[in-house]
């Protein structure tokens, strides 16, 4: 549990003054540039000091202005990933990941490096230098380096903003895996609504150094007139298991964790393999009843949970099993279908709209992509 209650003058026009509590979950710190997002991360990590207030992590006080406690950076046990990666350029990926483990027995270091490398999908990159890695690969090595020393908190300072949408979504899935595995609070800074929605979690909307709203990402975004924000296409991200190959038409079936089974493009792999599913909210159709004679392979019954309007767009959240699907519609469609919370609908999803990456293979695929000219380095 991270508890922050601080005040810090950043500039003559900006004073950061906020309270924030974050348990073992993903918190999204959202706001325009200059709202104080990065300053807050600097205060928590110890790179800067608050003028007033206190910061506690689990039972330890990291900072307290009244008792003049300020734990040094190296004792805070906070992991951090950065927009510029900040990998040590003179060290291999393996040495980078092991950097925070110095002083431990050699065998334990090797074991832990192997463990987090598997979790982050970088096992095949361990002997390479950062300069030879693609953007996504560097992010994953940075992630592995940050979690190797078992931090009590992970801070993410707009780490994925330089990547394209598909690669960003693959990394977001991985970050969610890590949260599930490590059970620590993750505070993720972003100014991308799509990233915030894909991550789910709790959003803290930062405006002029204060928290203007707090709640589920999609609600905060829709309720707080973020029309000015540039909305990228929203994406549904699911974790799933490969069920089987459909013999007749070269497709595969995956079981979404806590949700329905989905027919997706053929995926080479063995039953039981873990995969990530990306599905753009634009590609999800809604109908009031199942439609016969349709080429789309998936028709899934569900119930409308919420309808969120922002500017000329409507996002419909549909509950299906324990997971929610996000469907982007235009307002007239909502009127015509008479959609309202509780309404029974059918989600229509083309198999080809689902982008599947195997957890192990996504690393491999990205490496291949990185080797084609022009896409490797930024």
């Amino acid at each position: 549990m991270l508890e922050v209650d601080v005040e810090r003058r950043v500039s003559p026009t900006l004073t950061l003054q906020l309270q924030l509590r974050l348990g073992p979950e993903i918190g999204v710190l959202f706001g325009r540039s200059g709202a104080g997002k990065s300053t807050l991360l600097r205060l928590i990590s110890g790179l800067a000091r608050p003028d007033r207030g206190r910061i506690t992590l689990d039972t330890e006080t990291l900072f307290d202005a009244s008792t003049r406690i300020s734990a040094p950076l190296r004792r805070r046990r906070i992991g951090m990933i950065y927009q510029d990666d900040l990998l040590f350029p003179h060290l291999s990926a393996r040495q980078n990941i092991a950097f925070g483990l110095a002083g431990q027995p050699r065998l334990e270091i090797a074991q832990r490096v192997h463990e987090v490398a598997a979790l982050c999908g970088v096992e095949h990159l361990l002997d390479r230098r950062p300069a030879t890695l693609s953007g996504g690969e560097r992010k994953r090595v940075g992630l592995a380096r940050a979690i190797a020393p078992r931090p009590r908190l992970l801070l993410c300072d707009e780490p994925f903003s330089a990547l394209d949408l598909a690669r960003r979504n693959a990394l977001i899935s991985r970050l969610m895996d890590i949260q599930a595995d490590q059970q620590i609070p993750i505070l993720h800074v972003t100014h991308s609504p799509a990233e915030a929605v894909a991550l789910g979690g709790r959003m803290f909307l930062l405006e002029n150094g204060r928290i203007a709203a707090e709640g589920p990402s999609i609600d905060v975004l829709a309720n707080h007139a973020l029309a000015a924000v540039d909305w990228e296409p929203l994406t549904n991200l699911f974790h799933a298991t490969l069920l089987d190959q459909l013999r007749d038409d070269g497709a595969s079936r995956v079981q979404i964790d806590g949700g329905p089974a989905l027919i997706v493009p053929r995926l080479e792999g063995h039953a039981g393999e873990r995969v990530h599913v990306q599905l753009r909210a634009d590609d999800v159709l809604l109908a009031r009843a199942s439609v016969p004679g349709l080429s789309a392979r998936n028709q899934l019954p569900g119930a409308v949970e919420r309808i969120l309007t922002h500017g000329p767009n409507v996002e419909v959240v549909v509950q299906c099993g324990e997971v929610s699907f996000l469907a982007s519609l235009v307002p007239s469609a909502v009127r015509q279908l008479e959609l309202a919370p509780g309404a029974q609908v059918v989600l229509i999803i083309k198999a080809r709209s689902c982008r599947i990456t195997s957890v192990e293979e996504s690393a491999e695929a990205e490496r291949r992509q990185a080797h084609t000219p022009g896409t490797g380095k930024q």
Binding site: S45, G46, L47, P72, L73, R74, R75, R76, R77, I78, G79, M80, Y82, D84, L86, F88, P89, H90, F99, G100, A102, R129, A131, T132, R145, P149, H371, K377
Partner: protein
């Protein structure tokens, strides 16, 4: 047969001078590369004076500072029982001072080029300041530091005016190769002048080559 005594003395003097420059210069370069403070530009300017002052002026200043009648010179004689002046260690001090900016400037540039955020990242990963210096700062600044060492060594080997002022030109005691070559030319001993010049050139080239050898080829970008 060519008497290589002056060459050995030059190498001995230049090695000691370079070692002195590293020990004093490296921490100073690091300090001067970090956060600015009011007197910093003035101090940097002062430390770079040997670059712009005539060597004789520099030598004369050292003579005033280290001579037997000076406070510091008197103290050195009292403690060590000998004076630096007209002694080979005086030549080392003279060339160290003359070569100092040639180490300090590249060393400071090398430290400036290390992204301080990398050092912060290392601290956040649990490393102490000393450990960050050893594992991040020095390895990343290594090439610049090595360049400074080579430049300082070459300058120290080549020093003439400053050494002459402080240590004199005593054959067998303070006569370095540079001074010996000058003497040989004055005495019309062309063979000796040429021989010593060639040997000194070889020493300099060897020092450069050694520094190059430390540079690994960049890894292929695949």
């Amino acid at each position: 047969m060519l008497d290589l005594g002056p060459v050995w003395l030059s190498i001995k003097v230049a090695t000691l001078a370079t070692a002195f420059d590293i020990v004093v210069g490296a921490p100073l370069a690091l300090l001067l590369a970090r956060r600015p403070w009011p007197g910093r530009p003035l101090l940097i300017g002062f430390l770079c004076l040997p670059l712009v002052l005539p060597p004789t002026v520099l030598g004369y200043a050292l003579l005033l500072l280290l001579g037997r009648r000076s406070l510091l010179g008197g103290w050195i004689e009292l403690v060590f029982g000998a004076s630096l002046v007209f002694h080979w260690t005086g030549a080392a001090v003279a060339s160290a001072v003359a070569a100092f900016p040639l180490f300090l400037i590249p060393a400071r540039a090398a430290f400036l080029a290390v992204d301080p955020r990398l050092e912060d990242a290392a601290r956040l990963l649990g490393r102490s300041n000393l450990s960050v210096l050893a594992a991040v700062t020095l390895p990343l600044a290594w090439r610049g530091l090595a360049a400074g060492v080579v430049l300082a060594f070459a300058r120290a080997v080549g020093d003439f005016g400053c050494t002459l002022m402080v240590a004199g030109d005593i054959p067998g005691r303070t006569q370095t190769a540079s001074l010996a070559i000058y003497d040989a030319v004055q005495q019309g001993d062309d063979a000796r002048a040429l021989g010593l010049s060639l040997v000194i050139a070889l020493v300099s080239i060897a020092a450069l080559a050694a520094a190059q050898g430390r540079d690994r080829l960049p890894e292929p970008h695949l």
